[in-house]
């Protein structure tokens, strides 16, 4: 059964190599050193079993080798505790001297007792060499208790650190340690302690715990190879930072292969880290493009180098797991090693979509703001226009109300005055019937009658502007109506060097008017225009369709009317003439209004005046 010793020899060789590798990887790291010592203890343990489980070894040598070997299988626990505390960052405990006294003191005592013969001392020869009998003694119970306590502490620590989800790297390592460690704990305990305590008849089963701890050794080495370091203190800090990043972070090794991704990166890409770990970032992954840059590996590295040098983000398209093309901004940071060589690349990815969306939203907002501003300006402009129209309407309303109240007053006055006039006139007429030969008396009486009739005429005119009563309406061409009046006055005015310029619109719609009254209006307006021209000038008459009505404009080149007088121009009894009743334009205004039309005056001092009249179209 030499092969049992060979198994232990193989395990010894592996442990030694692993110990050297772990220490060589990072000799300054206390964690690596602690693991180194654990592996050295395992090596001593393997060395012990290499010789003990060899059939030709004398019993005395077996005892000696066992004692020597106890340094390994007792000592490794203290280094294991030390390792766990270093890994867990339990600085406060590690600073305490008492910890080291207890942690290394207890196994020292156990080893001393082993050397003193209070430990394993009974052996039985088997086909594969010496098999020890587990001592049922204080030392035996102490040792088992110590083992159980340490292993429980280690396993609980591993589980605790494994459950810290934010620290993914640590989580992954703990998972590996736990799986790697549970095998030797279970199987090793069984073969080395449980079987030994069941009596000599089970001694034929070799103790193989030292071989089983190879799984733990392999898990340690695997972690180093995968994560480059067992040291976690700094990486725990880095893990904290990475875990709290809001930007997506992707870690590539120096060959451009994906090492790690944080949660935002997983959310962005739709891939889990484990699905893409080890895959080249620039190439296809399972038929889907991960970082579709259209670049080969060399170009990719060049892009990374350039971006890193310029410290400016690169725009690339990232293809998510669902096949969605996501434009992203990639910030590239090269990780340099101790001697300045590139160790890897850290990529920070930000979805451009967010920025584009934000910029688009801002642009849309700006556009909307401009539209709103324009609309507001239009509203303001409309408001201003409406205000002006309102002011105009208000003026017209005031004018109309003024005329209406005056009209009512005139009507009442007319009726009151007519009776006394009737009496005066009637008495005079009665007196005329008996005047006889007195010519003077007759003339006086006739004068009284005449003046009463004159007064009656004035009153009738007053009444006609207050209540303009229309006569028969008929459809007329306004050009014909105007031309009739112009013909009446043309010759007379030409004697005063006043000429007419006629600009009659063609095909004007017919208007429904009392021709006689409208003649009176134009007569009045043209007379006023002629009186404003002092030493020759022009009266321009223009007819046209304007704002859905037939418009007539009578312009003169006279002296013009002041703004102050323009406001009162339609007021009854307002006149600037020495001999004027001031009723002419009031009557005209009343006539035009009674036809549903409108009338205004516009003037510039020194340039002339324009009277504008509008009549609505005939309804048919």
């Amino acid at each position: 059964m030499e092969y049992i010793a060979c198994i232990h020899s193989f395990a010894f060789a592996v442990q030694v190599c692993c110990a050297v590798y772990v220490l060589g990887k990072k000799p300054q790291s206390r964690i690596n050193r602690s693991v180194f010592f654990v592996l050295v203890c395992f090596s001593i343990w393997n060395l012990q079993n290499m010789f003990i489980q060899s059939p030709r070894l004398p019993i005395e040598w077996a005892r000696l080798i066992m004692n020597m070997g106890s340094i390994g299988w007792i000592g490794f626990y203290s280094f294991l505790i030390w390792n766990m505390l270093l890994y867990g960052g339990r600085k406060e405990l590690l600073r305490k001297r008492m910890f080291y006294v207890v942690n290394f003191g207890v196994p020292c005592i156990l080893v001393l007792f082993q050397f003193a013969g209070f430990g394993i001392k009974d052996y039985v020869k088997t086909a594969y060499g010496w098999s020890y009998i587990w001592p049922v003694s204080v030392w035996g119970y102490l040792y088992v208790g110590y083992c159980v306590a340490v292993l429980c502490f280690v396993l609980v620590s591993l589980v605790k650190m494994w459950r810290v989800k934010e620290k993914k790297r640590q989580q992954a390592q703990m998972r590996i340690f736990f799986i790697g460690g549970i095998i030797p704990v279970v199987l090793g305990s069984f073969t080395d302690i449980v079987v030994r305590s069941m009596g000599t008849k089970f001694a034929a089963i070799p103790a193989l715990a030292d071989v089983f701890v190879l799984t733990w050794t392999f898990s340690l080495v695997y972690c180093i190879v995968r994560y480059k370091s067992l040291s976690t203190h700094f990486t725990l800090v880095a893990d904290d930072i990475i875990a709290n990043l809001t930007d997506a972070m992707i870690l590539l090794d120096k060959k451009g292969r994906i090492v790690e991704m944080n949660d935002p990166a997983e959310n962005l890409t739709g891939f889990k880290t484990r699905e893409v770990r080890g895959e080249e970032a620039g190439k296809l992954v399972s038929g889907k493009s991960f970082l579709k840059m259209g670049l080969d590996k060399e170009e990719l590295i060049d892009v990374f180098k350039e971006a890193s040098r310029q410290a400016t983000p690169v725009e690339v398209t990232l293809m998510s797991k669902e096949g969605k093309a996501l434009p992203i901004l990639l910030s590239v940071n090269v990780i340099k090693g101790e001697e300045g060589e590139s160790e890897g690349v850290v990529l920070f990815a930000k979805e451009i979509g967010e920025r584009v969306n934000a910029e688009r939203a801002l642009a849309e907002l700006n556009e909307q703001l401009q539209k709103n501003e324009k609309a507001l300006m239009n509203i303001l402009s409309d408001l201003k226009r409406s205000h002006e129209e309102l002011e105009g309407s208000k003026d017209k309303l005031v004018q109309s109300e003024k005329l209406a109240s005056l009209g009512s007053l005139v009507s009442d006055m007319a009726h009151e005055v007519n009776n006394p006039l009737m009496v005066i006139s009637g008495r005079a007429q009665l007196a005329l019937m008996d005047v006889g030969e007195d010519k003077e008396l007759e003339e006086n009486l006739k004068a009284i009658v005449d003046q009463c009739l004159r007064a009656k005429d004035i009153i009738q005119r007053l009444l006609s502007f207050s209540k303009p009563s229309r006569g028969e309406l008929k459809k007329d061409d306004i050009n014909t109506v105007v031309e009739f009046v112009v013909k009446l006055l043309e010759h007379q005015l030409s004697l005063s060097n006043i000429n007419f310029v006629k600009k009659y619109g063609a095909n004007l719609p017919l208007v429904e008017i009392d021709e006689k009254q409208v003649h009176e209006v134009f007569m009045n307006l043209i007379k006023n225009a002629s009186e404003a021209i002092k030493e020759g000038g022009t009266i321009t008459i223009k007819t046209e369709v304007e704002d859905g009505k037939v418009g007539i404009k009578i312009s003169d080149t006279g002296e013009g009317i002041s703004k102050e007088n323009l406001k009162k121009i339609f007021d009854p009894f307002f006149t600037t003439k020495e001999e004027g009743t001031g009723l002419g334009l009031s009557v005209c205004y009343g006539i035009v209004q009674s036809h549903g039309g409108d009338m205004i005056y516009e003037s510039t001092i020194g340039k002339g005046t324009t009277a504008k009249v509008w009549f609505p179209y005939s309804k048919e």
Binding site: N418, M422, S425, Q429, L430, M433, L453, I459, K467
Partner: protein
């Protein structure tokens, strides 16, 4: 001698019309408002023409016309008014004359309506 009913609230107007019409051979009945006018109309069945003022207190010319219509009046009515407008134009009278009236003119109109 035709009898003419004169209804006018103005005493001066009544005097003038009374004197003039009497000198022209008419018999005149004078009333100073519409109420009195209707009362006289009802009392004097031989009235042949009415001279009616438009604006009077206590029942004006329009109300008198309504009363006359309700009585089935067939006697000619001449309305004496301050002005002839849309409103007066709609009244059912035989003639309208505006004050101050030419007395000769009114005499001619009366004779025309009486068929003289």
């Amino acid at each position: 001698m035709a009898k003419i009913l004169v209804v006018d609230d103005e005493q001066g107007v009544r005097y003038v019309l009374d004197k003039f019409l009497t000198r022209n051979g008419f018999e005149v009945v004078l009333c100073e408002d519409g109420v009195e006018g209707i009362a006289e109309y009802d009392k004097n069945k031989d009235i042949e023409l009415i001279l009616l003022d438009h604006r009077m207190p206590n029942s004006d010319g329009e109300e008198v016309l309504k009363e006359l219509k309700s009585r089935g009046n067939k006697i000619p009515v001449i309305l004496l008014t301050g002005s002839i407008g849309k409103k007066t134009g709609q009244l059912e009278v035989d003639a309208m004359m505006t004050k101050p009236i030419d007395l000769q003119e009114i005499c001619a109109k009366i004779k025309e309506l009486l068929g003289e």
